[in-house]
Point group: C2
Chain length 218, copies 2
DNA sequence: GTATAGTCGGTATATCATTATCGATCATAC
DNA sequence: GTATGATCGATAATGATATACCGACTATAC
């Protein structure tokens, strides 16, 4: 258990969390997780040790403790609220996506230019006008947002989000956005991810270093 | 111009490509791209040099040549066809997503358990039954697929995809999937990406190493 | 009890990625 | 034509990450 988590480790924690959420045994070992995810056993052991000190030789980690510590490391002890900016096709699909709650994430609301002062509901998610974004984020202490607007308005929307106090943005618009230093952006260009994968698939034939399940990353 | 591209470089190429597609000048320099994307100038210069040898001092790279070489490095010289497996909310949203064509990607078809022998159309994309996946991929030489089925059926769908000859899978199901060694998987758990971002946003306050535009990754 | 096998945790090494530094090159200005 | 400044490309140094190794610990078997 250490205080400074490397970026790479942090990026793998979600995978581990996803895995141990799917285990029904009492204990789990680093080797099991490594096999299950196709990662190096030592790598997993080191990652686990950096977030949880409850590991016992010959036994492994108690699942409940490991999960709690991992959620703590990922700042998921409480439920995390996020907003969606852009109620187009993709934004609407995400509103109706039911996978968030399983991971302690909750879509608190959505915001769209076309919305009026009076919110309407898309599934269970209220859709407000963009003007209401700052007040909403401030009062509900929301710091994470998903950006699903067209490329042309991405920068404007991003500016509104950072102005509203969001510090984590998942950007589905197919353009990079400019944000202040203290904001973390994850660019999610699906088309280019596919292109990257396509290129990777061609390359890895040479490398042949991949494990049992191929390469995975978040 | 070198033959072996590092994984990290490969992951940044889409960002560069995205950027230079948005430039309307004749030439572009590594420094310009670096400033535009908030990356280190040296890093960008090295990445560009590894895919394109047409850079000239004081001038930079001719945009057309750079773009061509970059698309070649990403194996995007021709249009890439991909299929969507799972015609639920997310799958349907992606079918109607119009950002693919901009990047040389084309959704050739979708496949779903509920579909019948006679395909129906969702927007411009035909939806076939799962039985037709192998024949379709073989005849159209499709090697990339997007997986948008519920968690429970993710592994079955993935097996069908690998059996059909797909070697690049973008997995939106919230579970890791097992694939043969020669297949590359990109796990896209949106909920956990948000969690990662949320944790990162808390950490980066200490690090303070981020550049002008914060951190971005694909 | 004692041996054995599986697992953890820490240290050391190797690998990979990024940044810094330097000389070479080329257009522009004078 | 020469000086100047911007840029590239290569090499070297730093830093981050992943792997290998070793000792320590604990349950099970005998």
């Amino acid at each position: 258990m250490q205080s400074t988590l490397s970026k790479a480790t942090l990026g793998r924690l979600p995978m581990y969390l996803q895995f141990i959420r799917g285990t029904d045994t009492e204990k789990v070992s680093a080797a099991q997780i490594a096999r299950g995810l196709g990662l190096g056993e030592i790598l997993v052991r080191k990652d686990l040790a950096s977030v949880c000190a409850a590991g016992l030789p010959r036994v492994g980690y108690p699942v409940t403790v490991l999960r709690r510590d991992m959620e703590k490391a990922l700042k998921m002890d409480g439920p995390i609220s996020a907003v969606i900016v852009g109620a187009g096709k993709l934004g609407t699909a995400l509103m109706e996506y039911d996978g968030f709650l399983d991971y302690g994430m909750k879509i608190a609301a959505a915001f769209d230019l076309s919305a009026t002062a009076e919110p309407f509901f898309q599934g269970r998610v209220p859709v407000y006008s963009m003007e209401q974004l700052p007040a909403f984020c401030a009062s509900r202490h929301v710091h994470a947002g998903i950006l699903t607007v067209p490329a042309a308005s991405a920068q404007n929307a991003a500016d509104a989000m950072t102005a509203a106090g969001l510090t984590a943005i998942l950007n589905f618009a197919p353009v990079p956005i400019r944000v202040p230093k203290n904001v973390t952006v994850h660019q999610e260009n699906i088309a280019l991810s596919l292109a990257y994968l396509h290129a990777m698939a061609g390359e890895t034939k040479k490398q042949e270093k991949e494990k049992e399940y191929g390469s995975q990353r978040i």
